[in-house]
Symmetry: C2
């Protein structure tokens, strides 16, 4: 149980976290800050936060838990803005989709207080964004990857794990590096592909005509292409080496299928598609 | 209203069509044939068909409407098998995802009786397949593209349009060529990409470990990769020129995003992602 939660970035993730903490009875009061005043206003109106903070630093003041829920590219500036009020008694977490960049920024900027920062990544995205899309149940039944560093304080780590479990999540821990490699494969590359696919359509004659003909397969395949641009710009840049390596695996496989098409290799094509289809047919989300 | 429906290929599409026709009161009796006897058995047990036909030819015998619901690569052989019982009074339709190949095979093989064949493509796919996945409401609220040829008889065309409308579908007509070009963009390429993406994952060390970490974005993005391999082998081969041209559009867009990643061009990346995200955010399925 916490007394005061400071939310820095009252969007989909920060807002949903505040609502979830309140619903679970894990926090008494929520103080929120967003770069855009209209977001904070809306968060107040929706009951996501109880008090508006005029700065990130003041959202930290008096808090015993702080969530930093800004695009990963904005993490270093946020850490710099709040470092003078970061104390070893307060638990700091984030919800960014990349972890090496966030963890090393925290280590570097928070210095001797870096132990209170526990890097977290809830696998609970949505193509919707902004505080209006915030939901108290966004994290229920979802997995959260926690990536402690060598600096991370063991007691704060335990508190973070217990907290996510208290919100109905399944928690796994891994290193920031292992996290970023794996999520380049199963999340970041799919986003990059979906954005590129949409851009490839939009660059053609009469894209509206094409879009009008699309059905449910297209709907699902492209859902992630509607994700928040700033969030994904930052994720892709922060993890670009792993993402580009994953893109190589994909391009090799695509090239192989194209060669089979060009040579009318029906047997080869069927074998490849069967392997893909069987693996995907067996797959189930693990929470 | 029809007296007897002949179903050639009692899988997801053929089976769902039979169930839908029965539920709409548009047919009295359904005779079905499938290459695999266990499929026909299951179709009988499920009440999808009333009578089992021992051959494609005998599924046509006595029918006033016939649906050919086999992978598009099997259409020519099917047309050859049934051509001696194709009469100008019977309406023949198919449900293949490509139309130029099917329409020209019908024209060539059915000869002077080709007028009774109306090429159709219901935009109602599913990653599930087989008669067990058949549903009477698969086509309700969905769009059906009908692609008449120069040979198509006007009366049969009208009957086909009325039929799909009677099943709750919205019907559009276009040429087989326009159909194949558009669906290469909005359906065939997404399938090719999804298969290649899965293959790219499976070719790595410990793909199980990666798959265990995947979440809802992955789930939606790869849903179509679980599609029926033979159906999609045939679609991709039948429409390979258009599919490969669409793959070029996609690869150019992907390459552009990769260049932006490599050069840390955050502004460019944000612009591209915003265009993709805005277009996908506005998109709604049109039925």
């Amino acid at each position: 149980m916490f007394d005061q939660l400071g939310v820095i970035g009252c969007g989909l993730m920060g807002g949903s976290f505040a609502l979830a903490m309140k619903r679970a009875g894990l926090v008494k009061r929520v103080v929120g800050y967003s770069k855009s005043p209209s977001t904070t206003q809306r968060a107040l109106q929706m009951g996501v936060i109880d008090v508006e903070a005029p700065s990130a630093l003041l959202a930290v003041s008096g808090a015993d838990i702080v969530i930093v829920a800004v695009p990963v590219g904005a993490m270093p500036a946020t850490f710099k803005a709040i470092r003078h009020l970061v104390s070893p008694r307060t638990l700091f977490i984030d919800v960014g989709s990349t972890k090496q960049d966030v963890a090393s920024a925290a280590t570097e900027i928070l210095g001797r207080n870096a132990g209170c920062f526990v890097p977290c990544h809830p696998i609970a995205g949505s193509e919707r964004s902004g505080v209006s899309a915030a939901r108290a149940d966004l994290f229920v039944g979802k997995r959260v990857i926690v990536t402690p560093t060598e600096q991370t304080d063991a007691k704060h780590l335990e508190r973070a794990l217990a907290l996510w479990r208290g919100l109905g999540c399944t928690v796994s821990t891994m290193t920031p590096k292992a996290h970023d490699e794996a999520y380049a494969a199963v999340s970041h590359l799919p986003h990059l592909i979906a954005f590129a696919y949409m851009k490839g359509l939009l660059g053609q004659e009469n894209p509206e005509g094409l879009l009008n003909l699309a059905g449910t397969g297209f709907a699902d395949f492209t859902r992630i292409a509607a994700s928040e641009p700033k969030v994904w710009r930052d994720v892709l840049l922060a993890n670009k080496a792993d993402v580009i390596e994953q893109a190589r695996h994909f391009q090799r496989a695509l090239h192989q299928l194209e060669v089979m098409l060009n040579t009318d290799d029906g047997a080869g094509l069927q074998k490849e598609i069967t392997e893909a289809s069987t693996a995907r047919g067996k797959w189930k989300p693990k929470a």
